[in-house]
Symmetry: C2
Subunit: 154 residues, 2 copies
């Protein structure tokens, strides 16, 4: 893989297998995903809901025809900040065989570029406190850990 | 105000003045909002974008006809967690004259109820580390500060 030839595009349904594989091939993700064939239908339903929403981009990074990274970027209008739009990044993963080559940075930079193109005033994400390396990674890209990220599982 | 007679509903455009007033009547919010008459147009545009999106609920708490609290709840499909939907709460404010009466708790409980009704598996929010009381408030409601909340202002 060469970082110079990476391309980014919105995912299509044929990418879903590679996306779920990346999400499950991860210390935390392996506990909550089900990479099986056929893929559980809820993944397909979620893909269709995302694909139909003009304010969500499920973005894949490609090395030639091979999907090597994924992230979801959701653009949301808010009343706060004088009616500003925010971009929220979630589900960032890169293929385990290509880590440490700058792929993750390029992926996030692409999300920031899309947020600017969409007129957002802020890009936000949360990162699990069990991933200290991820925190440093995002801080190097200019993010500030100014907030606590709270979750309530139903 | 009586906590027993609070009602919750989706905001309409006539509520926008009260909403922006609450957002601006706050230590942090006063630095970034503009409560003026007429309201800056970006607030109105954001309201219309929110109102048109079936996956966003701008919820007001009412004491009779008076708006006494607000929050935005965004419902988002994700590939992660086996294609699960998340509810994200932002912009929670209550009127300064009614604090300490349980209004905030009722507001968040209503968001949790809506998240369950919409089939979400998680409710999430971030809270500014400059608001330690807010962190304890959310922890009492069952949230866990498992994540760092990172922001990048563009």
């Amino acid at each position: 893989m060469s970082i110079e030839t990476l391309t980014f595009r919105q995912a299509n349904e044929e990418d879903l297998d590679a996306i779920v594989y990346m999400l499950s091939d991860d210390k935390i993700g392996s506990k909550r995903e089900r990479y099986e064939h056929p893929l559980p239908g809820a993944y397909v339903s979620a893909f269709h809901a995302i694909d139909a929403d003009p304010n969500i981009e499920l973005i894949v990074a490609c090395d030639g025809d091979t999907v090597v990274g994924v992230q979801q970027v959701t653009f949301t209008p808010h009343i706060t900040y004088q009616g500003g739009w925010r971009a929220t990044i979630e589900g960032v993963r890169t293929t385990s065989t290509e880590r440490g080559k700058g792929l993750g940075s390029q992926l996030i930079r692409y999300a920031i570029q899309r947020a600017k193109e969409r007129g957002c005033h802020i890009v936000q994400l949360t990162t699990d406190k069990q991933r200290p390396d991820a925190l440093r990674f995002y801080e190097r890209l200019g993010f500030t850990a100014s907030h606590e990220g709270l979750k309530l599982h139903l």
